[in-house]
Amino acid sequence: MSLKQNLHNLKEKYKGTKMAPAFNAIHTFLYLPNEVTHGGTHIKAADDLKRTMNTVIMSLIPVLIFGMFNAGYQHYAAIDSSLRADIIANFFTWDNLWIGIIKVLPLVIVSYGVGLAVEFVFAVIKGHEVEEGYLVTGMLVPLIVPVDTPLWMLSIAVIFGVVIGKEVFGGTGMNILNPALTIRAFLFFAYPTWMSGDKVWVYDAVNRTGTADAISGETILGSYAQNQEVIYSNWDKFMGFIPGSVGETSTLLILLGAAFLIFTKIGSWRIIVSTFIGAAVMGLLFNAIVDASIITESSKFYGLMNTVWWEHLMIGGLAFGAVYMATDPVTASQTNKGKWIYGFLIGFISIMIRVFNPAYPEGVFLAILLMNVFAPTIDHYVVQGNVKKRLKRAKVKTA
C-alpha cells in the first residue's frame, strides 16, 4: 500500500479522537487533503492559508541566510576591525556561516519547536485544526532578536507570546497584537539588559565582558542616540553589514522580500509604501527642526534628529517592520483605505519613538504594537464612511 493510502487509513482511524488535530497537521503538511466542496461554490481557487504563509517564509529565507553570515562577520570584525576594510572578501566565509549555524539556527529551531508545541497542545485541547499562523511567526521571531539571546529566554517568550498574544483570543485570525512582536515585547520588558546596550548584538560579546578579549558592537541607532560618530558607510547600512537583530540589517534583501511579497499579492503594498512615507515625513520634520536651530548639538536628541531622513529608512528595524511585521493581515487595518493610514502612522510614530526614547533608541516594534491596537478603530471610521454614504443616498431619495 502506498504512503498516501496508509495515511488515509490512519486519518480515518484517528477521526473524532483527541489526537486527530495533531495527526491531521502532519498529514496535511504532506498531502493536500481530499476534502471536496459541499454547498456554496463547487470549485475553489488554488490558494490556501498554508500557501500564503509559505510565501512569506520564502521571502524571509534570504534575510535569514544573510543574518547567519552577518552573525559571524560581526563577531570576527569586532575582534579584528581590519576585516571591515574588505567586506566582500570577509563576509561570505565558512567561519562566518559556522557562527550563524551554531547561534542563529538554534534560535530558529527553538522558536519553531516551542511555538508549534504550544499550537499543537491548544489544537488538541480545543479540538480545532492546527492553524498555520505560527509558521510565519516562528520564522520572524529569531530574526528580530539579538544573536546572543539565551535559548531558555526565547522559549519563555515564545510560550508567553503564543498563549497570551494569540491563543487566548481564539487562535490565528483572532489576535489583536502581532504575536512575533508580542514575543519581542516580552523579551524587551522582561530582560531589558539582553535586548539593548552595546554587547548583545555581537556573538560572544556578553561572555567576554570584563576580560582582556572584550568586544562590543553598538548599533547605529545606539551610536546616534549617544551622539557618537558612526563608523559604517551608507553602503554598509543599505547592504546590512552592520550589527543589529539577526535578520533586520540588510535593507536590500528586505526590499527584495518586499518586492516578492507584493508581486505574489501576499503582502499589502499599501502598508509597506505608507510606512516608509510616514517614516520619511517624520524624519523630514526632525531635520527641519534641526535646520531651524530649535535643537542644538547640546541636546541629547541631536544625534538622531540630525540623521538625514532617508538614512532613518535604512537603519534599525524600520524596513523589516514595514515589510514583514506591519503587513500581518490579522493585526493590520483590514480596509484598503485604513491600510494607508495605519502604515503611515506606524512609520511616523516609529521615528518619533526612536528619537525620543531615552532608554532604547528604536521604536518600530512599539509603534507597530500601538497601531495594532488602533487598527480596528481606523477600520471602524473607514467603514462608517461607507455606511454614511449609504444613509445619505437613502435621504437624497426621500427628500
Binding site: 498516501k4 488515509h8 496535511t28 503538511f29 504532506l30 498531502y31 493536500l32 487533503p33 481530499n34 476534502e35 471536496v36 466542496t37 459541499h38 454547498g39 456554496g40 461554490t41 463547487h42 470549485i43 475553489k44 481557487a45 488554488a46 490558494d47 490556501d48 492559508l49 498554508k50 500557501r51 500564503t52 509559505n54 510565501t55 485544526e129 492553524e131 498555520e132 499562523g133 481564539g170 487562535g171 490565528t172 485570525g173 483572532m174 508581486f263 505574489t264 499579492k265 501576499i266 499589502s268 493581515p329 490579522v330 493590520a332 483590514q334 480596509t335 484598503n336 491600510k339 477600520d379 467603514v383 461607507n386 455606511v387 454614504k389 449609504r390 444613509l391 443616498r393 437613502a394 431619495k397
Partner: protein, 449 residues
C-alpha cells in the same frame, strides 16, 4: 435614460466544456419533480395529493404566507409521490408525465389593456408569480410591496453560463409581450442589461431601459447592475426576473399556455459533447445527460459551478436553472499540494500559482477545496473581485455574529448569496460565504420582515 455599465473588479473563471451552439430537442422525461426548496423561503401548502391527475400549469401547492402564490406543475400527468424529509417537510412532488401533454388554457391576454391588478392576478392564477423574485433577501417577490423598478439581466457572466443571446434567439415577440406585462407592475422602469458586444434578442425591446454591460464576472449578476443603475436603499424593493422566465410569461400572454420548456446548456469537462438541449424544468437529470456524461466520480450541478446545486443523476433539474454543469470530483490527496508550483488551477495570487501567466487558458477544475477551513486571515483580496460599494469581509463578519443593525448599515439589502460566490471561490480561509449570506438574509427577513 440608458446607462452603460463597465465593471472593473471581478474575475472571469474560464473552464473547459463550454456548450457548443447547437440544440438537441430532448424527448419528454417520464418523471418530473417540483422541489419546494427551489423557492427559497416559501413554506408550501400542498393542494395536490398522490394520485391526482394534473395538467401543465395546474397548481401543486401554494405559499403559506400568501395563498395567491401558486406553484404549478411543469407537465401534465399523475402525481405519483410526495417525498417528505424530517418533520414532514416536503422535499419533492413527483409527477409521471403523460405521453401527450395537456395544458390548462389561461386565455390569451393583451397586457397593454390590463391594469396592474389584472396582470398580477393573471400571473398568480397561471403560476407565473414565482418567476418574480425580489431584493432584498433574494426570495420570491412579496406581491404586497411595490417595487421601485424591475431588473432583467440578459448578460450571463458566470462560468460556462448559457448564452442568452443564443437560448432566446427568435423569441423577441414573447419577450416584448412579457416586458409589456411586467412593466405594469412597477411605477419605475424595467431595466434590461445585455452584453456589450452581443446581438441580444432583448436589445430592441420597447418599454424598458436597455443597458450594455461589460467587464468580468460578476458583471452579469443582477445585484451588480442594480448597484450601478438604481441602488436599493432601506425600505425599497426591487424585483428581478430572469430572461428565460420572461419567455414563459410572454408565451402565457400570447397563447394562454404555461410552458416551462427552455433551452438548457450542458457544460463542463465531464460532458462528451457539451451543447444545448431543450427540456422542461423539473426533468430527471438522467434524461438530460443521457449518453453524454462521463459519470466516473463526477459532480453534477444544476446551475453553474459557483452558485448551482449539487444533484444526483437521479435528481431533478432546478426550477430557475438553465444550465447543468458536470466537473470531476476532487476527492484525492495531492502530495505537497500546498507548496508546490501550481499550473492547472486558477488563483488570483501569484504565490507559486501561475494562472496569471495564461489568462486565456481554460481550466479543468475539480471540486477539491484546495485547503482546509480557517478563520479569516488574509485581507484585501476579496475587494479585487467584488464590484459593489460594500466592504465584503466586514459584511460577512456582521452576518456571522448576526448584528442586524450592522448588517443593514453595511448593505445587506443590496446583496444576494450569489454576489459572494467569487469571494468564496478565492477565499484562502475556505469560508462558506454564500451560506453565511443566505442564513443572515433569512434571519433579517424573519426579524425585520
Amino acid at each position: 435614460m440608458s446607462k452603460d455599465i463597465r465593471i472593473k473588479k471581478g474575475l472571469d473563471i474560464k473552464l473547459v466544456g463550454e456548450a457548443e451552439k447547437t440544440t438537441t430537442k430532448l424527448p419528454l422525461s417520464s418523471v418530473y419533480a417540483v422541489k419546494p426548496e427551489d423557492f427559497h423561503g416559501i413554506t408550501p401548502k400542498l393542494t395536490a395529493k398522490e394520485g391526482t391527475e394534473v395538467k401543465a400549469g395546474e397548481s401543486l401547492f401554494y405559499s403559506k404566507s400568501d395563498e395567491r402564490i401558486l406553484f404549478p406543475s411543469p407537465v401534465s400527468g399523475k402525481v405519483t409521490e410526495i417525498i417528505r424529509g424530517a418533520r414532514r417537510k416536503v422535499l419533492a412532488i413527483k409527477i409521471a408525465a403523460d405521453s401527450k401533454q395537456t395544458y390548462i388554457d389561461f386565455d390569451k391576454k393583451d397586457a397593454s389593456k390590463m391594469s396592474e391588478q389584472e396582470v398580477k392576478n393573471h400571473l398568480f392564477a397561471s403560476g407565473c408569480w414565482p418567476f418574480i423574485k425580489q431584493r432584498p433577501y433574494d426570495v420570491v417577490a412579496n406581491p404586497n410591496q411595490a417595487p421601485k423598478s424591475i431588473f432583467i439581466s440578459a448578460y450571463a457572466s458566470a462560468p460556462l453560463a448559457a448564452d442568452t443571446s443564443f437560448t432566446l434567439a427568435g423569441k423577441e415577440e414573447e419577450l416584448q409581450v412579457a416586458v409589456n406585462a411586467i412593466s405594469k407592475l412597477t411605477e419605475g422602469s424595467v431595466h434590461i442589461a445585455i452584453g456589450n458586444d452581443e446581438i441580444s434578442p432583448l436589445a430592441n425591446l420597447s418599454g424598458a431601459e436597455i443597458h450594455k454591460v461589460s467587464g468580468p464576472h460578476p458583471s452579469g449578476n443582477v445585484s451588480t447592475q442594480i448597484a450601478n443603475i438604481d441602488p436599493i436603499n432601506k425600505g425599497e424593493v426591487v424585483w428581478v426576473v430572469t430572461p428565460q422566465d420572461l419567455l414563459v410569461i410572454g408565451e402565457l400572454f400570447l397563447t394562454g399556455k404555461f410552458n416551462l420548456e427552455r433551452t438548457i446548456a450542458l457544460t463542463g469537462s465531464r460532458f462528451n459533447n457539451p451543447h444545448y438541449v431543450t427540456a422542461i424544468a423539473g426533468a430527471t437529470v438522467t434524461d438530460l445527460v443521457k449518453g453524454n456524461l462521463n459519470n466516473d466520480n463526477t459532480r453534477i450541478i444544476s446551475g453553474n459551478v459557483l452558485s448551482g446545486k449539487q444533484v444526483n443523476e437521479d435528481g431533478f433539474f432546478g426550477f430557475y436553472d438553465n444550465q447543468i454543469t458536470a466537473i470531476p470530483e476532487g476527492d484525492d490527496y495531492e502530495f505537497f499540494g500546498w507548496n508546490k508550483p501550481i499550473f492547472n488551477k486558477i488563483s488570483t495570487s501569484r504565490a507559486l500559482t501561475f494562472s496569471w501567466l495564461t489568462p486565456k487558458k481554460k481550466y479543468d477544475l475539480n471540486t477539491n477545496t484546495n485547503g482546509e477551513h480557517r478563520a479569516f486571515v488574509v485581507t484585501g483580496s476579496y475587494e479585487d473581485v467584488f464590484p459593489l460599494d460594500i466592504y465584503p469581509m466586514q459584511l460577512l463578519k456582521a452576518f456571522m455574529y448576526k448584528d442586524l443593525d450592522e448588517m443593514e448599515a453595511l448593505g445587506a439589502y443590496e446583496i444576494a448569496p450569489e454576489d459572494f460566490a467569487l469571494t468564496e471561490f478565492i477565499c484562502v480561509s475556505k469560508q462558506p460565504h454564500q451560506k453565511i449570506i443566505r442564513e443572515g438574509l433569512d434571519l433579517m427577513r424573519e426579524e425585520l420582515g
